[in-house]
Symmetry: C2
Subunit: 441 residues, 2 copies
């Protein structure tokens, strides 16, 4: 399976063709970073400044960022930067001393979540969060089976990678990780999808049992980001989660992607489905790019783990993380960003649907709030069109708009801007996409 | 095994006895953080400000920080804070776009390391670094065996925890992780220690072979921080590493603790031993508390991994991490902190040796640069004295000096101040320790 993350990767064999300073810098980077050096685009970009949804390159050209979800409240938001700078200059230490900031932040964060999820453990990244969450589930249930979707990405640690089929360039997850199709594999009606997805989960549980294992966790990103973005209908996850719960497994909601208001109607993606996770994980959007993450769960789940193993995250929950996290929550509320995500997201989706009437290669437009997928298909036979997607992503780059790709075949345009995007910026994106599509076919 | 990290932990049963605001805050924290809530000291501390080696509590009382190694160039160093604040306000994004900052930092960092180690991969934490390093070794060697010391701590991910015997409250590492005694287990001469330690490693390799496995990695923190601090004689690691290399395993130098000049004579702890690691890992001291880490290795080791699995660390190597990392290197050089570590470290060690002549409970004083261990023993029979260590740590807290505990029994006082500590501050530490020891026995 081609890893999703490399879909839009620059090919180093093309460095010489680019020439000049760019070639020199690419070669320097390759020498320093080696095989792990991955850059976006056929002509990589270098930015020097960010503000709101804009990224500025070395020539001062403004690019509309409709891709980066980590700077969720906007690039370099002054309120967040100021909070970080002030606290960095005052006190930045681990959380084995008392500090009121992290308690205030924990209270604020937990208030957005179901009451039963009353314990929070801070980490530095979403990967650390998912790694810990999987271990919590394993300790609490005594079962090592993990169920994930076929193109999921849940992080970069050894354990999170096992649960990330999209990260494998060769082979795939180990036997205790069962892979189910993404919700898009089913084309039936609303009731049908919920049942279909629940059946997939039940099938994975049965597979585990045949292998002598039990299901410890269903780990799901409720927007199915890497799988190609499947948000609707709200509630379709519910039956699948019932199935896992009946099998004594836990539901881990990976909120690194859909969380912090991105889906427009609620703080967390799982809330859109009206379901109750046992564990919720969060990552960098919570700090708008400052490295911080969290795992939220029920006290008894955390206690079962802590009985066996110590967990200490040196700077998870530092006073700086707390100050940054509080500033991000403030900005989301003060600037009505959840409402903006809903309003501009709906507008953008509607304009993309209109676009699909003039461009037959658009097979589907879907998503929730400011997480939108545009599926590109072959005009002739309706099959996925990953090469076209790659060409459109590079075409948009040449028109100063940044987006990415997702999905099993890499044929889904992934549109995931900072939550502060305006209607005018949405129009700019649609115009550029219209133009790029016209140029490409 | 009692986990080292909890040696100096506050007992929540004592919260009521403390009363007032402190009790209320402790209960609030317990409710929010649950079983993972761990605080230092019998009377937990709350700090509001840090500067150099000083931490100030809510009453404005200054505590001498002789414990925290993450704010390595001093708490809230203005040059580091300014670099972070400036870059946070300008551009903070993942490294799949070009940015000159991270290339400049990579060049600077690699220049401190052996030429063969020419590829760097950035992470956000030391745990992520060790997790990745263990996977690099496993992929490159095809062997899953890992050898670590008996009270080692290498991080908090699932894989790093497997390789951290000190994290287990019940049970211990899985069979493929072989645990060898720390160097302190041998009381022979200089030549004897090197041979003894090499024999332990050879024994672990033989154990793995008996279990049908091979040794993929020897993972060592060259200052043996959690094991109780064993630095001398320089070079004693060499034979053991030869043994691992002959068995086709890799040597991973965990530099989260000894790195960035702490041992006084060189940038990296392994250099003090004149050995060549295959992989070097780094953590938060590299950002003076800003969450950043790195894995440095040979290109072919990284390539073998990247052939199989994608690795992307969203904000590892962000422009902010680069700016902060460069500022830390600048400060170490401009303020001659490596030399200060050597000079004040030697002075402090000598004063502690003098102290040991008046306090028979000091069984040993050891370490390198500003990483010093003071082993406390029972006066009657010379056995380890963990309760005394706990009482001294709390006694020092009451005398406004912060230190910690280490070692298999928790009987070693761990002294590990920011690298900018002065001779006068070292004197203050010794005077407070003298006083606390006199009061305790």
């Amino acid at each position: 399976m081609q890893p999703i993350l490399a879909l839009n990767a620059f090919d180093m064999d093309q460095a010489t063709a680019l020439g000049g300073t760019l070639e020199a810098r690419l070669l320097q980077r390759q020498k320093l970073f080696g095989a792990a050096s991955v850059l976006f685009y056929e002509r990589p970009l270098e930015f020097v400044r960010g503000e709101g949804c804009w990224l500025y390159d070395t020539e001062g050209v403004a690019y509309l960022d409709a891709y980066n979800n980590v700077p969720s409240v906007g690039h370099c938001h002054p309120q967040v930067v100021e909070a970080a700078a002030r606290q960095l200059g005052q006190l930045n230490i681990h959380n084995r001393y008392l500090h009121p900031g992290i308690l205030a932040y924990a209270e604020r964060l937990l208030a957005t979540l179901p009451t039963a999820l009353s314990n929070v453990t801070f980490t530095c990244t979403g990967s650390e969060s998912n790694d810990l969450a999987l271990r919590l589930a394993r300790h609490f249930t005594g079962a090592e089976g993990i169920i994930v979707t076929e193109t999921a990405y849940h992080g970069n640690t050894a354990l999170a990678t096992e649960a990330s089929p999209s990260s494998f360039k060769q082979g795939g997850p180990p036997p205790h990780v069962r892979v189910i199709p993404a919700p898009g594999g089913h084309s039936g009606g609303e009731k049908g999808l919920a049942e279909y997805f629940a059946e997939q989960v039940a099938g994975a549980i049965a597979d585990l049992e045949r292998l002598g294992m039990r299901a410890g966790a269903l780990l799901i990103d409720s927007i199915f980001s890497s799988d190609g973005i499947y948000a609707d209908p709200p509630g379709f996850l519910s039956q699948a989660i019932d199935v896992v719960h009946r099998a004594k497994g836990l539901f881990i909601a990976d909120e690194v992607q859909p969380g912090f208001g991105r889906s427009g109607t609620c703080w967390w993606g799982f809330q859109r489905h009206g379901v109750q996770p046992d564990i919720v994980t969060m990552g960098k959007p919570m700090g708008n790019g400052f490295p911080m993450g969290a795992v939220v769960t029920r006290p008894e789940i955390l206690a079962a783990f802590c009985d066996q193993v110590g967990y200490f995250n040196t700077y998870g929950g530092s006073p700086v993380a707390a100050a940054v996290g509080l500033a991000v929550l403030d900005v989301i509320e003060q600037e009505d960003l959840m409402d903006n995500a809903l309003r501009v997201g709906d507008y953008l989706k509607q304009r993309l649907v209109e676009l699909s009437k003039r461009h037959e290669v658009i097979g589907d437009v879907r998503g929730a709030g400011l997480f939108i997928g545009v599926e590109l298909i072959q005009q002739r036979n309706g099959t996925p069109a990953p090469q076209l997607a790659k060409s459109i992503i590079n075409g948009l780059r040449d028109r100063q708009v940044l987006i990415g790709a997702a999905g099993r075949f890499g044929s889904v345009l992934k549109i995931r801007p900072p939550l502060c995007i305006s209607v005018a910026q949405a129009d700019q994106l649609v115009a550029a996409l219209d133009d790029a599509l016209s140029a490409a076919h």
